[in-house]
């Protein structure tokens, strides 16, 4: 029969996970009927029931015929599913009717078959038809039987007293009730039967309903299960995504802020510093935007927790004021803090979240106010051990229309989008505020008059830990304002810390942050490297990054503890995952403390000062971040080069840069030269030559401000003069190392070559080479340099390029003979 598509209307049964769509089994049901029928026949044969054999035969044959007709028809005529159903139903009723006619006194049961069929396979619509057809069929059976003189015992009993009398000349004699036999038949046979059948039909219907219902239920519960699973998976994916994003996004921001911090600390050029300040502002804005989004996602996935802790309310107000006053000043808006001096000063609650809400409200106030005032007022009422604080942020801004008030807290909705389009924001802030306050048992309320201003307020219950009244807040703000500028700085030259992070930039940022404190920072790229280093050295503090491939922070820590590599050295964790409540988790793992990335310099200082032993730290007055007038503005800051010294000699920045580049070229050949001499250093004449080389290096290095290099060169010169081969042997590799370092340093400021043109025909270079050769031969380096520059403007195939670079280098180094030899070689090569 093939597979039939299940329609919505269809009934199906689940038997052990397999769905059986009932209509495909109709013919089988009909077969079952036949089977039952055959059973009756066999019983008849066995002599149990008495049905006349000829009747039996007739019934059987006609039923079979109809069955075959139906079967063959279904095979050869393709009907639509719907029509198919009706066809089979009709067929089954037909068979039953026919059988019923011949086997009347067993026909009571037969008409109920269609109901069963309908229940099993067909749709609710069909049931209606089954009722009608069964009634019709019953009537046909009853009257048909009577007509053909075939009857059943029941009929006979109703009509006569004596069973033997039921056939009078082969005819029925129905006189008892009514003279009209058909009426009697209807009243006493057809109708009761119909009623029975209909009743049975209803029962079937209900069975069907029950069956259907339970099948439906099974379907629904299966769907629910699946939906639940999907939701859980989605949630898990979301949390994982959150965590990863948190890390992924913060890492580059960490680099940006960290590097920017370095620019602010090291650059003395006013324009650059201005740009850096702008970068800082923007990066911080970016960070806060991302935090907003991440917070929102965390609230959504239920990850935000309210973590109470002791806090001083005055410091919260202080920070808020500082944060907002700059912005308010920029916009020319008056910022007022109206704080009740009688409220207690210390509480136990989640001040971070309250702060977040207030920052949001104040920022919004400032954002949506063009002129006037933004006032934050705080009052409180003490109740037992708690205080009910009433916070209100009022502004004289553009206000909110009444119909828009509902939209206020809906996520991503921004009111009056068209008007407020150029005000930044994700539209999440209010929603987050409202949810946070709800988590803290509070509720954010708003009152507003369009065009006049708005007020946002909420009441929050906080447990009081210090009932002492706050006092006058304003006095406290202004007094600390002036002190704020100059911090005391600290220096810890002998302190050694180890930072472990797989990201090079992160390590660089870290190192830079501690540069001004002169702390020696050692680096490790992985947990393994960290362990290897710790085997050999001890540190004062160890900083471990949390997320590292292969062996993460926690694993590394455990290894360190297991192998007892750090003793009681404090281990601080660096993490980009700013999930609140992580502190306890980290402490449980064995860390002494943690820092979130991007690393805030002041927090880092706090931790360092906290965990370094006091005898390593000494205080110094901070260097004010003044504008440095003049100074080396165009010169790059190179670590090994003291350009002030060079300035003293060369007096011109341009000159320094030119000399630096020549110095670089000089440095390219020198290590080779020195090493060749070093190989034969035992010979006196060679030592003399070596001495000359380092002597030259000494002054040249000094000229460009490479003082360390100059010093080393001097030491080697002295050693050469004193014929101290041992000393030379020791210092030579050190010198080579330093030369390498300096080269690399200069290389960082060498400009990238501009887009060069490819020379169409290599032979075009020949006249230049001739000119160059002539120039060199005449010691005319002005000409030679110009030609060299011209030649260098083109791009050449690799081998040629190498040769040209070498020639250019030789020209710079005034190595006339070598240059000429190479020019001739190149000419031969090009001429082919």
């Amino acid at each position: 029969m093939g597979s039939i598509e299940k329609k919505d209307d269809d009934i199906s049964i689940f038997i052990e996970d397999r769905e059986y769509i009932a209509n495909t089994y109709v013919l089988r049901c009909i077969f079952v009927t036949m089977f039952i029928f055959s059973g009756i026949f066999l019983l008849n044969v066995a002599g149990i029931f008495v049905i006349e054999q000829s009747l039996m035969r007739k019934a059987y044959i006609s039923a079979l015929t109809i069955y075959l007709i139906i079967y063959l028809t279904s095979k050869h005529v393709s009907l639509s599913d719907e029509k198919n159903k009706y066809f089979f139903l009709l067929g089954s009723i037909l068979i039953n009717t026919v059988i019923g006619v011949f086997v009347t006194y067993h026909a009571v049961l037969l008409p109920i078959m269609p109901f069963l069929y309908a229940t099993l396979y067909s749709s609710k619509k069909v049931m209606k038809y089954v009722y009608m057809l069964t009634v019709f069929s019953t009537v046909v059976i009853v009257y048909g039987g009577f007509y053909y003189g075939l009857c059943d015992a029941n009929m006979a009993l109703l009509t006569c007293n004596n069973l033997q009398d039921y056939l009078v000349d082969g005819q029925f004699a129905l006189t008892a009730v009514n003279s009209n036999p058909y009426v009697t038949l209807m009243l006493f046979f057809a109708m009761p039967r119909c009623l029975i059948y209909i009743a049975f039909g209803f029962v079937c219907n209900n069975i069907y309903k029950v069956v259907c219902g339970s099948i439906e239920k099974a379907k629904i519960s299966a769907e629910l299960e699946k939906a639940k699973e999907d939701a859980e998976n989605a949630n898990k994916a979301k949390s994982q995504f959150l965590t990863r994003m948190s890390h992924e996004i913060r890492t580059p921001i960490n680099a940006v802020l960290g590097m920017n911090e370095m620019i602010l600390r090291e650059s003395m050029e006013p324009e650059t510093r201005k740009y850096a300040h702008d970068i800082k502002g923007s990066a911080k804005a970016l960070l806060s935007l991302i935090n907003e989004i991440l917070d929102y996602s965390k609230i959504e996935s239920g990850k935000i927790e309210i973590i109470p802790d002791n806090y001083e309310i005055s410091s919260m107000f202080h920070d808020l004021y500082n944060m907002m006053s700059i912005r308010a000043n920029d916009k020319g808006i008056d910022l007022k803090f109206d704080i009740d001096p009688n409220i207690p000063c210390e509480y136990y609650g989640d001040d971070i979240r309250i702060r977040q809400v207030l920052v949001n409200l104040l920022t919004n106030g400032l954002k949506y106010t063009i002129e006037g005032t933004v006032t934050m007022s705080v009052t409180g009422k003490i109740e037992g051990e708690n205080a009910i604080l009433h916070y209100s942020v009022k502004d004289t801004g553009i206000g909110i229309k009444e119909e828009d008030l509902g939209k206020l807290f809906v996520q991503f909705e921004r009111i009056e989008e068209s008007r407020n389009r150029n005000i930044e924001g994700t539209g999440l802030g209010m929603n987050i505020c409202a949810q946070l306050l709800r988590l803290m048992g509070s509720d954010l309320k708003v009152e507003s008059e369009y065009g006049k201003g708005s007020e946002f307020y909420f009441d929050i219950v906080q447990k009081v830990t210090n009932f002492e009244p706050l006092g006058d807040f304003h006095k406290r703000i202004f007094s600390t304002d002036t002190e704020y500028e100059c911090d005391k700085n600290y220096v810890a030259e002998d302190a050694k810390v180890l930072v472990v992070d797989d990201n090079e930039i992160n390590r660089k940022v870290f190192r830079n942050l501690l540069k001004r404190n002169q702390i020696k920072v050692y680096e490790a790229e992985s947990g393994e490297e960290c362990l290897a280093i710790l085997e050999r050295q001890k540190f004062d503090i160890i900083f471990l990054d949390y997320m590292m491939p292969i062996m993460d922070g926690v694993e590394t820590l455990h290894e360190i503890k297991d192998r007892d590599l750090c003793g009681d050295t404090p281990v601080i964790m660096l993490t980009a995952n700013a999930i609140v409540g992580a502190r306890e988790e980290f402490l449980n793992e064995g860390f002494d403390d943690y820092l979130t990335k991007p690393i805030a310099p002041d927090k880092l200082d706090m931790i360092v000062l906290n965990y370094l032993s006091k005898d390593l730290v000494s205080e110094v007055d901070c260097i004010k971040e003044e504008e440095h007038s003049g100074g080396n503005q165009n010169l790059p800051q190179l670590e090994e080069f003291d350009f002030d010294y060079a300035m003293n000699i060369l007096k011109s920045e341009e000159l320094i840069l030119i000399t630096l580049k020549d110095f670089y070229t000089f440095m390219e050949r020198l290590p080779g030269k020195l090493s060749r001499l070093f190989d034969a250093i035992n010979q006196e004449e060679i030592r003399a030559l070596y001495k000359i080389e380092v002597h030259a290096l000494k002054s040249t290095a000094a000229t460009v401000g490479a003082l360390i290099l100059s010093k080393l060169a001097r030491m080697l010169e002295v050693a050469a003069v004193e014929n101290n081969v041992e000393r030379i042997t020791v210092l030579h590799p050190v010198l080579l190392d330093e030369i390498e370092k300096h080269k690399k340093r200069i290389a960082t400021i060498m400009q990238d070559p501009e887009d060069k043109v490819v020379l169409k025909n290599l032979k075009e270079i020949l006249p230049y080479l001739d000119m160059l050769k002539v120039g060199i031969e005449n010691d005319d380096y002005d000409t030679a340099d110009v030609i060299c520059d011209e030649i260098s403007k083109y791009v050449y195939p690799a081998q040629i390029q190498t040769m040209i670079d070498e020639i250019a280098s030789q020209v710079t180094n005034l190595e006339a003979c070598e240059a000429i030899i190479n020019i001739d070689k190149l000419k031969m090569k090009v001429e082919g």
Binding site: I649, L650, S699, M771, D779, Y781, T783
Partner: protein
């Protein structure tokens, strides 16, 4: 001995002209690359410019434009066929442009060159002001002698704006260069391999033309005996390495005032 600058594509004819003129004059050949021509002309400041038009096309008007703008006082000799000259006819109308039509022999070219050079002198004398200016502005020629190329480059960079600077990497090289052209002052490094400052100075003093040239020593060694040894040679001055720019300039100026 005049300075002649020949611009043209590198070919047999050009080489021919070069050879013909170079025993009498200081000849510089330059390919027809505009930036190169521009830079080299500036450096050389020739007395006469020859342009060989073989292979020239409209692209080369840049060079002509440069010649028109900046070298209107210099005689320019253009050699080429009638066809080749066509593109640049407008330039040939200028005073200082002279034409020779190919085919032409090298002798003829030389003749023309000598003629122009002679008239060159008249040309300059006519303009009295410029003559005086150029005399006053004539730059001093300094010879630097040091075995260290970086040092030489650095000093040259320092002094190039005010003086013409030549570089020699050894005493022997210095002598060769003095032979070609006598400098106005020599800056001599004391510590050099093979032929050190002392020896070089002695050799210089033996050359007649160079005897009276003031020599300034540059030394990196600071101890007393060493410096006394240096001073014994009676240099015009001495400087300690690394030498400050101002100091170098001061020293030089003092020397030139004398």
């Amino acid at each position: 001995m005049a300075k002649i600058f020949i611009i043209g594509k590198s070919n047999v004819e050009l080489q021919g002209i070069n050879k013909y003129l170079s025993d009498q004059h200081d000849v510089q050949i330059c390919v027809d690359n505009f930036p190169l021509v521009k830079s080299l002309l500036k450096i050389k400041q020739p007395d006469l410019i020859i342009v060989s038009l073989i292979g020239f096309d409209i692209v080369n008007t840049g060079i002509f434009s440069e010649l028109k703008t900046n070298y209107s006082r210099t005689h320019i000799l253009c050699i080429g066929t009638e066809n080749e000259q066509e593109c640049f006819n407008e330039y040939f109308k200028l005073k200082n442009f002279n034409i020779l039509q190919r085919p032409v022999t090298n002798e003829k070219i030389k003749e023309e060159v000598e003629k122009l050079l002679d008239s060159e002198n008249d040309y300059e004398e006519k303009d009295n002001n410029s003559f005086i200016e150029t005399a006053e502005q004539k730059r001093k020629n300094i010879l630097l002698v040091d075995d260290n190329a970086t040092q030489l480059r650095m000093l040259k960079a320092m002094l190039n704006s005010k003086y013409d600077v030549q570089m020699a990497t050894s005493g022997l090289k210095a002598l060769t260069m003095i032979g070609k052209k006598t400098p106005d002052v020599i800056l001599l490094d004391y510590e050099m391999p093979l032929c050190d400052g002392k020896m070089t100075l002695e050799m210089i003093r033996e050359i007649d033309e160079a005897k009276s040239v003031p020599v300034v020593f540059l030394t990196g060694v600071r101890d007393k005996e060493h410096i006394e040894a240096v001073l014994k040679l009676k240099p015009a001055g001495y400087l300690l390495k690394p030498a400050k720019t101002e100091l170098i300039f001061d020293t030089l100026e003092k020397i030139f005032e004398k």
